[in-house]
Amino acid sequence: MLHIKLFAKAREVVGTPVVEIPWSEGQTVLQLKRALVEKHPGLQPMISRLLVAVNNDYAADDSMIQPGDEVACFPPVSGG
């Protein structure tokens, strides 16, 4: 299982700050996004804007995620 931290509107529409997704070696960020939306359809309207961070850095759609990675998913940032 991969534990994915959610923030801001992504957390709000899912309703919880962490979700679990079954995971195996060799899968990518894009596959994670699709799995998230499948499990939590509320994320569908924002999928094109969703960002994924792996081990505290932004990860591109074709990046691999390993089972032990620290993973987060959130909309574009708006701090400051």
């Binding site: 931290k5 923030f7 801001a8 509107k9 957390r11 709000e12 961070a53 505290n56 850095d57 932004y58 620290e70 987060a72 959130f74 909309p75 574009p76 940032v77 708006s78 701090g79 400051g80």
Partner: protein, 136 residues
């Protein structure tokens, strides 16, 4: 000093922490909660952050700034949680030998913070509605 905090930001202590006799210039930037945005009235803002990654990203920004300007000291504090009108959401202090460097580095740090540091804000409007802010 890089810090995410739920407490009010002590920008005076932050500024003192970057002062040095090796530097002729200190620039401090404060972001504060503004009431009016395009004709709409804000009553408060809520900031949410991913503190661990935010601190890592701010440390990266500090490194990038240090590679471009001869920075002496730099300090960045971002507040999270519920902020009222006029409250300080972010403080960035930087000291450099000369003033132009300090202005440029300070502006770079706040510009980049808004682009890459995982923090989100939600407007609480005076009609009671709330809205996650989209970056412009």
């Amino acid at each position: 000093m890089i810090e995410m905090t739920n407490a009010p930001i002590d920008y005076h202590a932050l500024t003192e922490s970057v002062r040095s006799s090796q530097s002729g210039a200190v620039v401090l930037f404060l972001g504060t909660v503004r009431e009016m945005t395009e004709g709409r009235r804000t009553v408060a803002l809520e900031y949410e952050g991913y503190p661990q990654m935010a601190e890592a990203k701010l440390a990266e920004l500090e490194s990038q700034a240090r590679s471009r300007w001869p920075i002496d000291q730099v300090g960045i504090i971002h507040r999270l949680g519920h902020l009222e009108l006029g409250d300080i959401s972010v403080a960035i202090a930087v000291s450099c030998p000369h003033r132009k460097q300090a202005f440029e580095a300070g502006q770079f740090l706040i510009d980049e913070l808004k682009v890459s540091v995982p923090i989100w804000k939600r407007e609480i409007w005076d009609d009671g509605t709330t809205e996650w802010v989209h970056p412009s």
